[in-house]
C-alpha cells in the first residue's frame, strides 16, 4: 500500500524594519533583556498601537512578488490568550482579512519545476521570550522581541515530500531576502517554519488528520522533522491506529517530534477586530509606487537567463539564489559579450561562490568587483591564461594583489601560445619518450595524457593546453 504525503507550511518572516510593528522601539537583535521594550511593548495602562508603515510596505512587496492579491482594505484583529511574554494579553494579528491573499511560489526539485499556491500572508507582532533556565523556580521575561513585525506566509497543502517542502522554504527564504523584506537570519529566528504534515492512501482525495510541527528554524530540521513525522504517522496508520490532530515539537538532538498539545486543549482565541487600529487601507497610489520599486524577480531572471543567454535551468536557478549573486553575474556580463555568459555563470556559481564561502563574506565585501572579474574572464577567453591558472589569479585579486593583468604579469603566468615554441618543446618531449609514443600508436590512449603532462611540465604549465593537444595529435599521426 503506498502513501501520499501532504505538507503545508506556515512561515514567519521577521520584517526588516528598524522599529517594531506597533511601537517605535528598535528591533535590533541581541540587546540586553528588556532594553528595547517601550511603554507600548510592556503594555502599560493607556498605551496604544500605531501600525508601522514600513512593515505594511514590506507585506505589499511580498504580495507583489508572489502575484497575490493585495487587499486594499485589511483588518488587524486581536488574538486573545494569557502568557507572561504576551504583555497585552493578546497578539495583534490579521484574521479574516489579511493584507495578502493567494499568490504562488515556483520551486525546482529533481523532478522539475512545480508551483505551490499560497493561501495568504498576514502581518502580526511577535511575542516576547520566556527564559526558564537561568532562574531558580521562576521564569525571566525578555520583551525585546515583543512587537517585532512578522509576515506569516501560509501555503496550501500542496507539497508531497520533505524535499519539496525544503525547496519551497529555500525558495521563499531567497525571495524574502531578494525583495529586501527580511534578513533571513535563521539562527536569530528571523525566518522560521511550522509544518503541517499528514498522510493519506494514494488516490484518496480527503486529507488525512494533520500534525503541526512548530518552530523549525533550519532547512535540515525541517527536512528531518517531516521525514520523522511521516514515518511516525504511516506506522500508526499501518498498525490500524488513528492520527490525533495536535501540535508537535521537533527535538533535534533525538531527531524526533513530540506532542506539545492536542486539539482538545486548543484555546479559543476570541478573535475580533482591534478597535485601537483602523482598517489598513492601501491606496492605489501606494500600490503603484510599490510596484515601481520592485526589483526584477528571481523567476523572471531565471527565465530570461535561459531564453536570452542560453543558460541551463540548473545554472539559472543557482545564479538567482540571491539578488547579490544575480547582480554580480549581470554586472560582470556588462563588460563582456553575451557569448561569455556560460563561462561567467560557471565561475560565479563555482569558484566565486566557493571563495565567498571559504572567506565567510558576501558579495558586497568581495574585493573583486564585477569589472575586475570581467577582465579575468576576458583573459581566460582570449587564451592568455588557462582556467586552472585563473583560479590562482582570482585568489590573488581577492587578496588585493592587483588586477588580473597585474597578477598575470607579476607571476609570469602568461600562457605559451607561440605554436613554434610549443612545437619545439613537443618535438623534444617526443624524442625523449619513444616508449610512450609507441604505446600510443599501439592504441593506448593513456600514453597520450602522459605526453601532454610532459609538455605541460616542460612549460611550467604555461602552454595553452588546447594547442598542446592539437600539436601532439598532429605530430603523432604522422
Amino acid at each position: 500500500m503506498s502513501w501520499e504525503i501532504v505538507i503545508g507550511l506556515e512561515t514567519h518572516a521577521q520584517l526588516s524594519t528598524a522599529s517594531k510593528m506597533f511601537s517605535g522601539s528598535s528591533t535590533a537583535f541581541g540587546a540586553a533583556p528588556n532594553t528595547q521594550a517601550s511603554a507600548v511593548d510592556i503594555a502599560l495602562p493607556g498605551v496604544l498601537p500605531v501600525a508601522n508603515r514600513g512593515a505594511v510596505e514590506r507585506a505589499i512587496r511580498f504580495g507583489l512578488a508572489v502575484g497575490g492579491t493585495i487587499n486594499r482594505r485589511s483588518v488587524f484583529a486581536r488574538k486573545n490568550y494569557f502568557y507572561p511574554d504576551l504583555p497585552k494579553g493578546y497578539q495583534i494579528s490579521q484574521y479574516e482579512l489579511p493584507i495578502v491573499q493567494g499568490g504562488t511560489i515556483s520551486i525546482l526539485t529533481k523532478a522539475g519545476e512545480k508551483s505551490v499556491s499560497l493561501t495568504r500572508a498576514h502581518l502580526e507582532e511577535d511575542a516576547g521570550k520566556s527564559l526558564h533556565e537561568d532562574f531558580q523556580g521562576m521564569s525571566g521575561i525578555d520583551l525585546n522581541r515583543a512587537g517585532t513585525p512578522l509576515l506569516e506566509i501560509v501555503s496550501e497543502p500542496e507539497m508531497r515530500s520533505a524535499e519539496e517542502a525544503v525547496a519551497y522554504a529555500k525558495t521563499l527564504h531567497s525571495l524574502v531576502r531578494w525583495i529586501g523584506i527580511c534578513d533571513g537570519n535563521m539562527q536569530e529566528g528571523s525566518f522560521r517554519c511550522d509544518a503541517n504534515v499528514s498522510v493519506r492512501r494514494a488516490g484518496d482525495t480527503k486529507l488525512g488528520t494533520r500534525a503541526e510541527i512548530k518552530n523549525l528554524n533550519s532547512f535540515r530540521f525541517l527536512e528531518k522533522a517531516i521525514e520523522f513525522e511521516v514515518k511516525r504517522q504511516i506506522e500508526i496508520l499501518e498498525n490500524g491506529g488513528k492520527i490525533v490532530q495536535e501540535t508537535r515539537l521537533y527535538d533535534a538532538e533525538r531527531d524526533e517530534t513530540r506532542s506539545m498539545r492536542t486539539k482538545e486543549d486548543a484555546q479559543d482565541y476570541r478573535y475580533f477586530p482591534d478597535p485601537d487600529l483602523l482598517p489598513l487601507e492601501v491606496s492605489e497610489d501606494w500600490l503603484e509606487r510599490a510596484r515601481k520599486a520592485m526589483p526584477e524577480l528571481p523567476q523572471t531572471k531565471r527565465d530570461r537567463y535561459q531564453r536570452e543567454l542560453g543558460l541551463s535551468a540548473y545554472d539559472a536557478n543557482l545564479l538567482t539564489e540571491s539578488l547579490d549573486k544575480a547582480s554580480y553575474f549581470e554586472n560582470t556580463l556588462e563588460f563582456l559579450d553575451a557569448t561569455s555568459a556560460k563561462t561567467v555563470a560557471n565561475w560565479v556559481n563555482g569558484e566565486i561562490s566557493a571563495l565567498l564561502n571559504e572567506r565567510g563574506v558576501e558579495f558586497p565585501q568581495l574585493l573583486v568587483p564585477p569589472k575586475a572579474f570581467a577582465e579575468l574572464v576576458a583573459r581566460i577567453r582570449d587564451g592568455t591564461i588557462s582556467a586552472n591558472t585563473a583560479k590562482g589569479v582570482l585568489h590573488g585579486m581577492a587578496d588585493g594583489e592587483g588586477t588580473a593583468d597585474q597578477i598575470i604579469e607579476k607571476r609570469g603566468l602568461k600562457q605559451l601560445s607561440d605554436s613554434g615554441a610549443i612545437e619545439k618543446i613537443v618535438d623534444d618531449v617526443l624524442a625523449a619518450n619513444a616508449r610512450q609514443v609507441e604505446d600510443y600508436r599501439a592504441g593506448k590512449d593513456k600514453a597520450f595524457n602522459s605526453l601532454v603532462g610532459q609538455v605541460m611540465k616542460a612549460t611550467k604549465g604555461k602552454a595553452n593546453p588546447g594547442q598542446v593537444n592539437d600539436i601532439l595529435r598532429r605530430k603523432l599521426a604522422r
Binding site: 510592556i42 495602562p45 493607556g46 496604544l48 486573545n80 493578546y90 476570541r270 478573535y271 485601537d276
Partner: protein, 485 residues
C-alpha cells in the same frame, strides 16, 4: 474665587488679583474640607500641584500665560500622569505610579494648567453611579445619600461642590453626561477621535472619548480648546484643523432646528425629569429655536448592543492587568495560571469581573456572530438613525438620564436597572457623535436634572453655542448645592 468662571479666573490671574499658588491653595483647602464627606478625589498631592502653580505664576509674570495658565484642573483617575498614582478606581492598579503622561495631561501641562488631583470614578469607568470604585463611593454634593452619577462621578461632584473649577472625564456610554446631569454641572463628550486616547486607560476603545466637565458651556469650550488635537500615537485620533470652540458661543439661536426624539420621552422617563426637559425645550423655542419632532427608531436596541460591544472590548483591554509586570499581584499562588486567577479575582471588583465574563462570552467561538457581529450591525443602524435625523434638525435634545440621582446602594444589586441609566446617552457613543449635558432644573428631592444635546459630527462649537445661549437665559447651572458651603 471658588465660584468664578474660568474666564474670571484667567482675568484675576492676569491682573494679579491673585496668584495661581493662591488659587490652587484655595481649591486644595476646599478639597481638604469636603473630600472626607464626598470622596470625590482619590489622590491629592499639594506639593506637586503647588510646584506647577509656581511655574504658572512665573509664566504669567513673564506675560507668557495662555487662557488656562495657572488654573487648577482635576483629572479623572483614568488618565495616567507622570509620577502620579493612577488607579482607574481599581485595586489592581492601587500601586501604579505612571512613568508617562497621557496626551491630555501633556496638553494641559503645555497650557500651563495645574493638576489639582485625580478624581474618583467607577472602577475602570464601568458604572453609572461611581459606587464601584475600590476607593469607596462618591457622594452627590446635592444629597450625600445619593450617587453623583458615573463613571466620572468624582469629577462631576468636584465641580458641583466647587472643589475644582474644571475637570476632565471620559464617556463610553454616558460617563461624562450622566454624572453632569445628576450632579448639576455641564459636561461634554466630543466627537469620537477628537481627543486622543493615548494615556487614557481603555475601557471600550471604540466608544471611549475624553471630555471636559465644568460649571458652564463657556468653560467647557475653553477646556476643549486645550484638550482637542491630533495625536499620532492614537490611530483613531482625527487630524483636522484646530478650531476655537468658543467662536460660536454668542450666536443667537434664531432658526435653530431642535430635534425632539419621541423615543426619549416614553416609558421609563420620570415625570419630574420630563417636566424640566419640556420647560427647557420651551425656553429654547423662546430663544428662536424651532421644535422638530424626530424619530430614532433603533434607540431601544442601543443598550443591548452597547452591553455586547463594550464588555467585549473591555474583556480584551483588561487582559494586560495580570500581575506580571505592574500593579497588584496576589500573594499566594501555586503556578502561573493560579497567579492570573487569584490576581484578577482579588484585583478586580464585582462589576468589572461581570463585564469581563460577558465580554469573554460574546467573543467566544460560536457566539461571535450572534452577539458581537450583530451588535456591530445595530451600531450602524443607530448611526444611520442620527444621519437621517440631522437632515431635519441641527441638534437633538432630550433628557440626559431618565431619573434624578438615586440613593447610594439602590441599584447595585440590579445591574440591568443600573444599565438603563444610560439609555439616552449610549446612542451618541455608538454613533460617535458629540453630546453635552447642561443643568435644566430640579426634580424630586431638589436634585438636578440634565438636558441632553446631541450634535452632528464635529459640531461641538454649535452644541456649546446652544448650551451657552440657554445658560444666558437660565441660572440652573449657577446654582450651588446647599449644605456644603
Amino acid at each position: 474665587m471658588l465660584d468664578a468662571s474660568l474666564k474670571e479666573l484667567a482675568a484675576g490671574l492676569a491682573h494679579r488679583k491673585f496668584s495661581s499658588v493662591e488659587l490652587t491653595k484655595a481649591f486644595l483647602a476646599r478639597i481638604e474640607a469636603l473630600n472626607g464627606k464626598l470622596n470625590a478625589f482619590i489622590t491629592i498631592d499639594s506639593d506637586k500641584s503647588l510646584a506647577q502653580a509656581r511655574a504658572a505664576d512665573a509664566l504669567i509674570a513673564k506675560g507668557a500665560g495662555q487662557p488656562l495658565t495657572g488654573i487648577p484642573v482635576a483629572h479623572k483617575d483614568i488618565f495616567v500622569a507622570r509620577d502620579w498614582l493612577t488607579t482607574c478606581g481599581s485595586k489592581i492598579l492601587s500601586n501604579f505610579v505612571s512613568p508617562y503622561d497621557a496626551h491630555l495631561i501633556e496638553r494641559f501641562n503645555a497650557a500651563g494648567a495645574v493638576l489639582l488631583g485625580k478624581t474618583n470614578m467607577d472602577e475602570f469607568a464601568m458604572g453609572s453611579s461611581s459606587e464601584s470604585s475600590f476607593y469607596g463611593p462618591v457622594k452627590n454634593p446635592w444629597d450625600a445619600g445619593c450617587v453623583p452619577g458615573g463613571s466620572s462621578g468624582g469629577s462631576a461632584a468636584a465641580i458641583a461642590a466647587r472643589m475644582a473649577p474644571a475637570a476632565t472625564g471620559t464617556d463610553t456610554g454616558g460617563s461624562i453626561r450622566q454624572p453632569a446631569a445628576l450632579s448639576g454641572v455641564s459636561g461634554l463628550k466630543p466627537t469620537y477621535g477628537l481627543v486622543s486616547r493615548y494615556g487614557m486607560i481603555a475601557f471600550a476603545s471604540s466608544l471611549d472619548q475624553a471630555g471636559p466637565l465644568a460649571k458652564s458651556a463657556e468653560d467647557l469650550a475653553l477646556l476643549l480648546n486645550v484638550m482637542a488635537g491630533f495625536d499620532a500615537r492614537d490611530s483613531t485620533s482625527i487630524e483636522r484643523k484646530p478650531e476655537d470652540y468658543s467662536r460660536e458661543l454668542a450666536k443667537p439661536l434664531a432658526g435653530l432646528r431642535v430635534g425632539v426624539p419621541k423615543e426619549h420621552f416614553g416609558e421609563g422617563l420620570a415625570p419630574d425629569v420630563g417636566k424640566a426637559v419640556e420647560t427647557a425645550l420651551a425656553q429654547l423655542e423662546k430663544l428662536g429655536a424651532k421644535r422638530v419632532p424626530i424619530e430614532l427608531p433603533n434607540s431601544h436596541l442601543s443598550v443591548p448592543a452597547y452591553y455586547v460591544i463594550a464588555p467585549a472590548e473591555a474583556s480584551s483591554n483588561l487582559s494586560r492587568f495580570d500581575g506580571a509586570r505592574y500593579g497588584y499581584r496576589a500573594k499566594d499562588y501555586k503556578d502561573l495560571a493560579d497567579m492570573y486567577r487569584r490576581t484578577r479575582a482579588e484585583g478586580f471588583g464585582a462589576e468589572v469581573r461581570r463585564r469581563i465574563l460577558i465580554g469573554t462570552y460574546v467573543l467566544s467561538h460560536g457566539y461571535y456572530d450572534a452577539y458581537y457581529l450583530k451588535a456591530q450591525k445595530i451600531r450602524r443602524l443607530i448611526a444611520n438613525d442620527f444621519t437621517g435625523a440631522f437632515k431635519r434638525c441641527d441638534v437633538v435634545v432630550g433628557p440626559t438620564s431618565p431619573t434624578v440621582a438615586f440613593k447610594i446602594g439602590a441599584k447595585t444589586s440590579d445591574p440591568v436597572q443600573m444599565y438603563l441609566n444610560d439609555i439616552y446617552t449610549i446612542p451618541a457613543n455608538l454613533a460617535g457623535l458629540p453630546a453635552a449635558s447642561v443643568p435644566c432644573g430640579f426634580g424630586a428631592g431638589g436634585l438636578p436634572v440634565g438636558l441632553h444635546l446631541v450634535g452632528n459630527y464635529f459640531a461641538e462649537a454649535r452644541l456649546l453655542n446652544v448650551a451657552h445661549q440657554y445658560q444666558r437665559e437660565t441660572d440652573w447651572h449657577a446654582r450651588q448645592p446647599a449644605g456644603i458651603q
